[in-house]
Structure formats: structure tokens, C-alpha cells
């Protein structure tokens, strides 16, 4: 909030201070010239776009296009102000999922997964050394099972399960993120799936018991509807808590100390506010 007024002049020192070496990881030519066709997924270009149209009210950033500008060695400064000004209050509608640049080969286990489960990987993304795949929510479990059991993948360690909330996407506002690690091949991958508030997401606790508490936390904090979970209770918040605190639309402030010190005063204040809302 406090930095909003500063925004226009922020752009200048930022551009001036970090000339070249800031983004060595992203070769300019590759990222700029890459339509997702490279990824060797036939449906990759079309698929990420298709779930989005009904939602995305903001033209802020269609993910496949934005990262190319942001990550590449930023050719002219021209697109920047254009992107900065209009979406002032607009919440972002999705994560940046840049496609892998041409000189970074896709790991063998992703290629094998695509061959074994056609259509199960809708997007392959690469950013600062991390590989991410996006899978449809109904195929999540079989992809997870493949990643755990296939010898070249062998992701036997479920390092983290979390979620990200993108409210503008309404029907599938959550990205449920699984960070997997292989203790034999020492490699990592992030598996993402998109889910709405009621979409059933099949739990992976049967594959990795480690996911038990992690999924409970995601359920507690976001309200993702995990199915087949052996013990789906809240974990950090009290059992009778209303709402899911990590959602972006969850209020940041509660009644505060006034409620404890002077409940009647608080009630009066609340009523006047509610009346104002009604009018």
C-alpha cells in the first residue's frame, strides 16, 4: 500500500541500478523467440490458454507472453510503462510460467512422463533452474504415481505441498503445488494443478505419507477440497475456525482489542458499519 505512490519513480532507479548481470540465467534469444511449441507437448500451447478465458478479466498478463518480456534481457524499456499503469489495482490472474529456453534440454523423466501419459502434462515451465509441470486435476494422482515409481524419475520424497490463490481465475482459483525430490537421482520437480473451491483434488497421502500434514495445512489455509485424505482436519487454526486465512480475500484485520476491552462499543461500531454497508 505504502509503495503505491512511489511506483512511477521506482522504475527508474531499478532500471538504472542493475544493468547487465541481473538475469544471466535467461538467454535473451531463447526466451524471446520461443513459442511454447518447443516444449514438445502437442497440446502445450493451447492447453494453458483454454482454462483461462472464462475467467481472466484483466488483460494484465497472459502468462505465456509475460515472462518472455520479464525474464529476457528486456530489449527496450517501452513495454514496461504500458504494463505498469493500467493494472494498478488489478490482482494478478496467474503465475508466470515461462517455457524452457531452447538451450536447456527438458529432463528425460519429463519426456518419459509425457510419452507414458499422453495429455497429462499441459505445460512445462522452467525458471531460474526449477522445472514445473502443470497437470489437470483429475490426472494428478496417476502422474504423481508415475513420478514416484518410474525408475528414471524416482521422486520418493515429497518435500512440500502448498497452494497459491489467484482469485481472478474464479472457477479454478488455486494452484496446488507439490514439490518433489528424488533421493536417488538428486533432482527436483514441481507439479502444479489448478483447482476451484469445490473441485475434488485426490490426496497423494497414499503415495507419500509425508503429504498428510502438508495437505491438512493446505486445506486449513486455503480450503482446497482434498478427497481420500485419511485425516482431513484443520491443523494450525482452531477446529471451529471460520474461513481460510491464506486466501487472498481473507480480511487482514479483525475486530482488534476494542472487542476485548469494550464489547458494547465494538458492537455499536459494527452495527453502524453494517448499516452503512446496507445503504
Amino acid at each position: 500500500m505504502a509503495d503505491d505512490p512511489r511506483k512511477p519513480e521506482d522504475a527508474t532507479p531499478h532500471d538504472g541500478d542493475d544493468p547487465g548481470p541481473v538475469a544471466p540465467a535467461a538467454p535473451a534469444a531463447a526466451a524471446a523467440s520461443t513459442p511454447p511449441g518447443e516444449v514438445a507437448v502437442p497440446g502445450a500451447a493451447a492447453a494453458p490458454a483454454s482454462p483461462r478465458p472464462p475467467v481472466a478479466p484483466k488483460p494484465a498478463a497472459p502468462p505465456p507472453a509475460k515472462p518472455a518480456g520479464a525474464v529476457a534481457a528486456r530489449p527496450p524499456a517501452a513495454p514496461k510503462p504500458a504494463a505498469e499503469h493500467p493494472p494498478k489495482a488489478a490482482p494478478p490472474s496467474g503465475p508466470a510460467e515461462p517455457p524452457p529456453p531452447a538451450d536447456v534440454p527438458v529432463p528425460a523423466f519429463i519426456a518419459r512422463l509425457q510419452a507414458a501419459k499422453p495429455g497429462a502434462v499441459t505445460l512445462v515451465s522452467y525458471f531460474v533452474g526449477d522445472w514445473t509441470i502443470v497437470v489437470p486435476v483429475d490426472r494428478l494422482h496417476e502422474v504423481a504415481q508415475h513420478l514416484r515409481d518410474a525408475p528414471e524419475a524416482a521422486f520418493d520424497f515429497c518435500s512440500d505441498v502448498t497452494a497459491t490463490d489467484w482469485p481472478p481465475r474464479a472457477a479454478e482459483r488455486f494452484d496446488v503445488v507439490y514439490c518433489l525430490y528424488s533421493t536417488t537421482h538428486r533432482q527436483r520437480i514441481r507439479v502444479k494443478t489448478r483447482a476451484g473451491e469445490t473441485t475434488p483434488v485426490r490426496s497423494v497421502t497414499d503415495l507419500w505419507p509425508a503429504a498428510n500434514w502438508l495437505e491438512r495445512e493446505v486445506f486449513d489455509m486455503f480450503g482446497v477440497n482434498f478427497t481420500g485424505h485419511p485425516d482431513r482436519r484443520r491443523i494450525l487454526m482452531p477446529d471451529d475456525w471460520q474461513g481460510h486465512p491464506q486466501r487472498k480475500d481473507y480480511p487482514l484485520e479483525g475486530p482488534g482489542e476494542l472487542l476485548l476491552e469494550n464489547p458494547q462499543e465494538w458492537l455499536k461500531l459494527k452495527q453502524t458499519r453494517d448499516e452503512a454497508d446496507l445503504e
Binding site: D17, D18, P67, A70, A83, P95, W208
Partner: protein, 376 residues
């Protein structure tokens, strides 16, 4: 027809007993509550209840800018606060592709290892006290004090250090600090022997820890254990070796492993880690290069749109940060911590089944959880 046979037993209540341990209990190391279902003295099942220390650090962080978050990370694992700082700063550096100068990376290595020793000191003291050996606690806290003094000189604080900045260090190390670190290494080397003399061969200690809470390697991996509890089961996984960060790729050290996967082996692994940490500190403090301590950092920390997960080896295990930037704001869009204590504590239910109530205390100690990190 079996009524007469039951008659004798009916005098005693043979039902399972539910016993609440914590949240206010000295051996639960904070505010951990374990609901035990007991059959006599045997634990049939245990429900671990957490969340009493939940402060919403993830939500708070999403409404602070990147620089302000460093100080929030102190409040998670507060016995190894500087390790949290390092992990967080490296995640943002990875997101922004900032190169950290070698001198800063060396100091970070020293800081991380000093924290590992401080954390293990606290662990060995409280763990031994839970089991009944009071002396170790006093010994270990004596040495932890020396580390706190070193940190006080480095950054002015003794518990929550705020000791790192995105891109490097806030200040260069004070003159002569590296020599004091080396002097501490000399002192500490002998002290580890003292702890071991009190415990390693101690008959009571062996009785209480050998064969308690055995977990095999593959099961430990599936349960998501990391750090010393995983290495105690013989799994050679250490992020300092596998995915080196700071200056660990330039350090010579070994990863101690256990065999049996019981409480004793987890103890042995941590005791050996004391020595390896001292070895790393000595190398880093002797080889600390000259040069700047901050890399090229833009005045306004605003990473490009994207997301990343970065993990480091904290004293408790894999400490991971998942940060999502929308590229437009100076706050992270999503800030997530993968707390090692949280994931290790999950195994408590599995570990304490079939053991005695007194062993539950030993097992909580051997997992080495910090509730500030479990609940965040």
C-alpha cells in the same frame, strides 16, 4: 459364557486411557500437545495437536516487502534464526539472479554452522534433561553462550539476529571476529568430548535410547523426515552436499550417518555433526576471502514475475522457501515456508506407537522440533 472369566478383570478398568500431554508440559519443548491413547503404560496411538503458536508468518510476509521479511524469518526457528535468514535471502537472490560475493558466502557458511552448533547444544541439553541427565544441560548452555556472544558482536542481537540482507551481509564482520571464531572452535572441540563422556557410553542413556523409535530408511523418506532424523536411518541426504549453497561447495566435510534409525543413532549423528561443523567453521574462518560483502542489488527489491523453491540444510532438516513474485509488487505474492520441524514432527505418531509413555518424551527430544517453526 465368558462372563465369569471377565469378572476378575472387571475390577480393573482395562479400557484404553486417553491422556493429554501438553500443551504446557516442560518436555514438549514449547506448546505441543500430544493426545496419547494408552493401554497401561503402552502407547496405542498418539494424536499430535499443533497450532498453539501460529502467528501467520506466511500471511504477514505477503503483506510486507522483501526486505522486511528477513526479520520475520527470525521468529520461526528461533534457536537457529540466522539459518532462516540465509535461506530466505538466498531464495530471493535466486529469484532475482543476484550474485553474492564470495566473502559474504563464507561468512554465511560460518554463521550457518555456528547456528547448527548452538541449536545442537540446546538440543543435547534439553534432550538429556528430558531423559534425566541434568549436567549436560548446564555444560551445553555454557558453550551456547559463547556462540551468542559471537553473534552479539556480529550483529548486535543474541536471539533474533536479522543478520542477513538480500544480496549479502548488512555490514562487514567486525575486525578480529574471525580470530575469535577460531578461538571458539578450539574451545568447543574439547567440549564435545565432554558431552560424549557423559552420555555416549552411559548405561542409563543406552537403555533409554537404544531401540526406541526405530525407523528404516525408506519409511523415513516416505514420511518426509529430513536432517539428522533421516540421516540417523542411514539415508545419505544432506542439502549442503547435494545442492550446495553459500560456500559449502568449497568446504571439506563428511555427512555422518546412523545405521539402526533409533533414538541413539539420531543422537550419534548429531554429536558427529558437532565435529563436522567445527571442521567447516575452521576452514571457512581461515580461508575467508577479502572483498565486498554485498552484491549488486537494485535499490528496490522487485523480483521478476516467477516462482522458485529453494531449500537449505537447517539444523533441523530441509528448510525450504517457496516464493511467488508477480513482478509488479514489492511484496511477494505468495510466501511459503517448508518447515523441517513440522514435517519431522509428523513422524512422532508413527515413532511412539508401542512404546512407553516415558519414551514419548525421548522421541520428542530426538526429533528436535522447535514449535515456533512448526506453527509459524
Amino acid at each position: 459364557m465368558d462372563a465369569p472369566a471377565l469378572r476378575h478383570g472387571a475390577m480393573f478398568d482395562t479400557n484404553e486411557l486417553e491422556l493429554n500431554m501438553g500443551p504446557q508440559h516442560p518436555s514438549t519443548h514449547g506448546v505441543l500437545r500430544v493426545v496419547l491413547r494408552l493401554d497401561g503404560e503402552k502407547v496405542v496411538d498418539a494424536d499430535v495437536v499443533i497450532g498453539y503458536l501460529h502467528r501467520g508468518i506466511e500471511k504477514l510476509s505477503e503483506n510486507r516487502n522483501y526486505t522486511q521479511i528477513v526479520l520475520l524469518t527470525d521468529r520461526m526457528d528461533y534457536v537457529a534464526a540466522a539459518t532462516n535468514n540465509v535461506g530466505y535471502c538466498e531464495t530471493v537472490e535466486k529469484l532475482m539472479a543476484i550474485e553474492v560475493p564470495r566473502r559474504a558466502r563464507y561468512v554465511r557458511t560460518i554463521v550457518c554452522e555456528l547456528q547448527r552448533i548452538a541449536s545442537h547444544c540446546l538440543w543435547v541439553g534439553t534432550h538429556a534433561m528430558d531423559i534425566g541427565a541434568m549436567t549436560v544441560f548446564l555444560y551445553a548452555f555454557r558453550e551456547r553462550e559463547l556462540i551468542l556472544d559471537l553473534f552479539e558482536e556480529l550483529c548486535g542481537a543474541r536471539l533474533t539476529y536479522n543478520s542477513q540482507r538480500i544480496g549479502g551481509l548488512p555490514l562487514d564482520i567486525p575486525p578480529g571476529w574471525d580470530r575469535k571464531v577460531l578461538a571458539f572452535v578450539e574451545v568447543m572441540t574439547g567440549k564435545v568430548e565432554e558431552y560424549e563422556a557423559l552420555l555416549t557410553e552411559n548405561r542409563i542413556w543406552l537403555e533409554r535410547t537404544k531401540g526406541v523409535g526405530v525407523i528404516e530408511g525408506p519409511e523415513a523418506i516416505a514420511l518426509g523426515l529430513s536432517g539428522p532424523p533421516l540421516r540417523g536411518s542411514g539415508v545419505p541426504r544432506d542439502i549442503r552436499k547435494d545442492e550446495p549453497y553459500a560456500a559449502y561447495d568449497e568446504m571439506q566435510f563428511e555427512v555422518p550417518l546412523g545405521k539402526a534409525g533409533d533414538t541413539y543413532d539420531r543422537y550419534v549423528v548429531r554429536m558427529e555433526e558437532f565435529r563436522q561443523s567445527l571442521r567447516i567453521i575452521r576452514q571457512a574462518a581461515e580461508g575467508i576471502p577479502e572483498g565486498p560483502v554485498v552484491g549488486k542489488v537494485p535499490r528496490l527489491i522487485k523480483p521478476p514475475a516467477g516462482e522458485t523453491y529453494h531449500a537449505i540444510e537447517s539444523p533441523k532438516g530441509e528448510l525450504g522457501y517457496f516464493v511467488v513474485s508477480d513482478g509488479k509488487s514489492t511484496n511477494p505474492y505468495r510466501f511459503r515456508v517448508r518447515p523441517p520441524s513440522f514435517c519431522n514432527l509428523q513422524a512422532l505418531r508413527r515413532l511412539c506407537r508401542g512404546h512407553l509413555v516415558a519414551d514419548v518424551v525421548a522421541l520428542i527430544g530426538s526429533l528436535d522440533v522447535v514449535l515456533g517453526e512448526v506453527d509459524r
